[in-house]
Symmetry: C2
Subunit: 518 residues, 2 copies
C-alpha cells in the first residue's frame, strides 16, 4: 500500500446504504463450491508467498529482487496454465538500486552495533567510514545556518520526530462487528475538505527545508547521515527513498535506523559525551533499463460474445527494501495468483477473459497501474477513451495487509454495492459480508477509478499491518497466516468468477472530467 | 533479574493474611513528607539511569561496561555524601569479555543484513567469514550423528525452538486491582512440587546434548554458528552465554539473531535454495582480573546503640550485553541510588547505618550478593553465622523491571508482613499498598533469605518487562518511565528510613538448616 494517500476517504454520498431490493444476481452455487473446495483444501497460497518473499527477496522498484519476482511470477502463472503471460513495460521509472553491504555501529564511547539499513537510492560510502557525530535539529531553513562549517567529515545524526511510545495494545487487530457495522452505514461525513492554504504552505516549506538540508549536507562535506522515521522495540520504518530519477542530484550515504539507537546517540551528544559512528554501505545503481514493468497473464474467456471483455484482478508486486514486503504486498499478489490457480484447477469455464496484473512501482505513486491504465484504457488528464475502456468488466485489488477479507469498498458505486452484497452472501460463514459505499485509496484500484472504470479494493482485517509491518523492517513471511490467505483467495476467485459470468459488466459511475481541466 | 529461578513461588503457608491487629508502628510523618517532596519534586533518578545505561553502556559480568559503571556509581555515591564508598571483591568470577565488532548478513541468494549480536563469551571470527549454511536440527545425541562430515567450513544455523507468534496483547502491562487482590490472599497453593525424576532426567539429557553439540561443532571444524532464543518484531533474546571460566573449553564464534532472520534462512535451505552467510565478530577476553565486584557505600547511623546495625538496600548493576540493561536492572540501581540521595538531601538522621549495595554478576547466578552474604553474614552450606549476621536489620531489593512499586513480597515472614502493611499505608495514593506473603525468587534478596536474614523484593508493575525487554536487545533507556521510577524511589527511601528508625530490627524467620546437610 502506498502511503501518499493513505486515508480512507468517506465518500460524499447523500443517501442510504445500497438497497437489497435490486435485481437478483444469478450465482452458480456448484461453481462456488468447487472454488471453495480447491482454495480451502488444496491451497498453494503459502508456498507462493514463500517464493515471493523469502526466495525473491525485497522487491524495491526496479531492483534485482523485483526483476526476479517478475520472472518467477510470469513463469508460475504460465505453469498454472494461464496464457499471454508477459512482463509488460508501463513506461519510464528511474534507476534500479540494490544493497550489497550494510553495516553501522557506534564505536565510541563504547561499541554498539546499530540496527539500520541504507535509505533507498542512496550511494555507497567509500569503504568503512568512522567519524565523529554531529546531531542536527532544524525546524526551519534559518536553523540550518547554525551548522555551517560544523559538518565537514562528520556523520550527521538527524533529530527524532517521533520517539517510541510503549505499546499498550497488541500488534494484531481484527475488525470487530462494531467496526464493520459502522462501515456499512451510509457515510455520515462528507468528503474530506481540501487542505487549506496554511497547510499547503507548511507542506511546501517542509519540502523546501528537506531539499535545502540535503544540499547543505553535500556542500558542507558531511560524510554520511543517520536518520529515522520511527518505530519501536526493533521495528523501524524504512520508506521514502532518495530521488531515483536518472538525473537526480547527488545525496549522501544515509542509513535509516531504529529510533532507540539514534536516540541513544542524541542523548549522549547532548550530555557532552563525544560519539563516534562507523558506517559502511555498498549500494549498486542500475541505469541500463530505466523502465518499469507489470506482470500480466490471462485465462481466456469461453463465451463468443463476452470473451473480448475482461475481468481484471491484481495487486502490487514491488515492496520496500528492509524486509521482504510480505504484508505489503506479497500477500495480495499470492492471493491473486492463488485465485487464478484455483480457477484453472477447478476447470471452470469463465465467459469473459480473466486477466491478472501484478503491478510494479506502486510504492512510489501507483506508477505501474497508472501507466497500464493510461496505455490501455484512458489518460485521466484528457479522458480520451481507448477501445479497451468499454471492454473492462471490473478490476479487483488486494493490498491492505495480509488479513482475511471482511467485505468490499464499493467506492461510491451504489449499483455495484447491491451486486456485491449478493456476491458476499455465500461467505458470511467466512467472515466476509460487509459492503461499504466508502472510498478507500492508497492503492492500485484508484488508477482504474480515476478514469471511470469499476475498480475495487476489499476490506481486510488489519492484523499487525499498522504500525508494525507496513513499510518496516519487520514485513516478513512470518507475519502471514495461512487461514487468512486461503479465505481471501476463495473470496477473490469467487468474485472474479461471478464478474466473468454475469450477463452485464459491472455498472459504472459517471465518467470523471479530464483531470487537466479540473 | 536472573532467569534460572524465575518462578514466583507460592509460599507454603497454612494460615491467613497477616493480621493488622499487631503492634502499631511508629511512623514519622514529617520525615516521610520530606522524602516524598525531595523524590517527587527534585528527582535525579532519570539522570542516574541515563548514566547507568547510555553512558556506561552494556554491563555484562566482568566487562569493561560493568567496570565503568562500578567506578561511576562509587564516585556518584560519594558525591551524594555517602561514606565508605567501595568497589568490593566478592570472590572469583571468570573472564571479562567485550564486543569490538559485530556483523552478520545473508549474502546469497541475495543480500540481507541480519539482526544479531555475538553470544556472550564466544570468540572472534578470523576476520570476515563467508560460508555456505547447514541447518542443524537435533533433538537427541543420536541425531547429531547425521551431521558427521557435513559441517567442515560451514556456518551452522540452529533450528528455532520458538517461532514468533503474532502479539495480540500490548507490551505494556500493569497489575490490576484483581491481580493485587489475589496476591494479598493467603496462598492457596502449597510450594511447587519438586521436579520429578523424569523431568530431571530430561534436563540432564538436554544439557548433555548441548555439550555434545558444542564439542561436535568444534571437532568437525564448523566456521561459526547462528542461534536464536526467540523474540518477535525485531526484539530478540540474548542471554545464556558460553562458559566464562578461565579454563573453559573452546567454542565456536556464535551470533544470536532475531528468529525471523534465522527462520528465513531455514525455510530457504529446506526448500533447496543454497544460502551463504557472512559473519564477522571481534570479541576481546580479559583474564588479568577474574574477580567479581560489588559497589557499596553507607550513610552512617546516628544512634549510639543502633548505628552498628545496618539496613541494606540494593539491586544488581550487571546486565546482559545486547542492550543497556535499562529495566534489568539499571532501573533498580537508579532507584536505590536515588533513595540514598533523597535520604542525604533531606538531612534526616537515620538511627541505624544505611548501606547500599550494587551487585555484580547477578545474571550468572546471584554471584555478587551470594558472595557478599557469604563473606559478611554466613555461608548457607554451613550456616556458621558471622558477627555481622545479627547486625542486619533488613535488606530491600529492586529488580523486577522498571515499573512502579505496588507493594512487597513478605517472603513468608508473617511478622514482617504486618509491619509492611503499616509502612505502606502512606503510599496508597501512589498505588503501593499490597503485602503478599508469597515468595519471589530470581534475584538478590534470595542470597539473604537463604541464610535466615530478612531480605525482601518489592512488587512492581511489569510494564514491558516480559516478554519484551527482559534479557533482550530492547532493554534500553527508552523503556524507563520517570513517574514510575520517582514513585519507587520515594517508597524505597521511606521503607529504608522506617527500618533505620524502628526500635527493633525487622523480625526474622527461623534460621534454615545448613544447605549441605539438606
Amino acid at each position: 500500500m502506498n502511503k501518499l494517500v493513505l486515508l480512507t476517504l468517506a465518500g460524499a454520498l447523500a443517501n442510504a446504504a445500497p438497497a437489497l431490493a435490486q435485481a437478483t444476481e444469478k450465482l452458480d452455487a456448484a461453481a462456488l463450491g468447487k472454488i471453495r473446495d480447491e482454495g480451502m483444501n488444496r491451497s498453494q497460497v503459502m508456498q507462493t508467498a514463500f517464493y515471493l518473499t523469502d526466495v525473491n527477496g525485497p522487491r524495491l522498484a526496479n531492483s534485482d529482487g523485483l526483476k526476479r519476482a517478475n520472472e518467477w511470477t510470469k513463469a508460475q502463472l504460465a505453469k498454472y496454465g494461464l496464457v499471454n503471460a508477459n512482463i509488460e513495460a508501463w513506461g519510464d521509472f528511474g534507476r534500479g538500486w540494490d544493497i550489497e553491504k550494510s553495516y553501522v555501529a557506534m564505536t565510541a564511547p563504547y561499541y554498539h552495533a546499530l540496527v539500520g539499513i541504507p535509505k533507498a537510492w542512496t550511494p555507497s560510502t567509500p569503504g568503512p567510514v568512522r567519524k565523529q557525530v554531529v546531531v542536527m535539529k532544524a525546524a526551519t531553513e534559518a536553523d540550518l545556518a547554525k551548522y555551517k562549517g560544523q559538518l565537514r567529515d562528520k556523520i550527521v545524526v538527524m533529530s527524532v520526530a517521533t520517539p517510541p511510545k510503549p505499546a499498550t495494545e497488541g500488534a494484531i487487530r481484527r475488525l470487530s462487528d462494531e467496526d464493520l457495522k459502522k462501515m456499512a452505514e451510509p457515510a455520515a461525513t462528507a468528503a474530506r475538505p481540501a487542505p487549506d492554504a496554511a497547510m499547503l504552505a507548511s507542506r511546501k516549506a517542509m519540502a523546501a527545508l528537506r531539499t535545502a538540508m540535503a544540499d547543505m549536507l553535500v556542500s558542507e562535506g558531511a560524510a554520511g547521515v543517520l536518520s529515522t522515521r520511527g518505530g519501536i522495540y526493533g521495528t523501524f520504518n524504512t520508506s521514502n527513498g532518495a530521488p531515483y530519477a536518472a538525473d537526480a542530484k547527488p545525496v549522501l550515504p544515509e542509513i535509516e535506523t531504529a529510533p532507540e539507537d539514534q536516540l541513544r546517540i542524541i542523548r549522549l551528544v547532548e550530555a557532552g559525551v563525544p560519539v563516534e559512528v562507523e558506517m559502511e554501505t555498498k549500494t549498486r545503481f542500475q541505469t541500463q533499463d530505466l523502465k518499469g514493468y507489470n506482470v500480466v497473464a490471462e485465462i481466456p474467456g469461453t463465451d463468443k460474445k463476452l470473451k473480448s471483455e475482461v475481468v481484471m484482478l491484481g495487486g502490487h508486486l514491488d515492496s520496500w527494501h528492509a524486509a521482504t514486503g510480505a504484508t505489503d504486498n506479497a500477500a495480495g499478489c499470492a492471493v491473486m495468483m492463488e485465485a487464478v490457480r484455483i480457477l484453472k484447477a477447478t476447470g471452470l469455464k469463465p465467459r469473459r477473459t480473466i486477466r491478472i496484473a501484478l503491478w510494479g512501482e506502486e510504492e512510489e505513486g501507483l506508477h505501474g497501474s497508472r501507466g497500464y491504465v493510461k496505455n490501455h484504457f484512458a489518460d485521466p488528464a484528457t479522458m480520451q477513451l481507448k477501445p479497451e475502456h468499454e471492454k473492462l468488466a471490473a478490476y479487483f485489488n488486494l493490498d491492505n495487509g495480509a488479513g482475511k477479507i471482511r467485505g468490499i469498498y464499493a467506492q461510491g458505486n451504489e449499483a455495484a454495492a447491491g451486486i456485491f452484497q449478493q456476491w458476499l452472501a455465500p461467505f458470511a460463514d467466512l467472515g466476509a459480508s460487509t459492503v461499504t459505499l466508502r472510498n478507500t485509496g492508497s492503492t492500485d484500484h484508484i488508477a482504474f477509478d480515476a478514469v471511470g472504470l469499476p475498480g475495487f479494493q476489499f476490506i481486510q482485517d488489519g492484523l499487525d499491518y499498522f504500525p508494525t509491518t507496513h513499510h518496516t523492517n519487520q514485513d516478513t513471511y512470518d507475519r502471514l497466516i495461512a487461514d487468512d490467505l486461503k479465505q481471501a483467495s476463495v473470496v477473490v476467485a469467487s468474485f472474479v468468477y461471478d464478474a466473468a459470468m454475469r450477463d452485464q459488466k459491472l455498472p459504472r459511475k459517471p465518467l470523471p472530467a479530464p483531470a487537466k481541466a479540473q
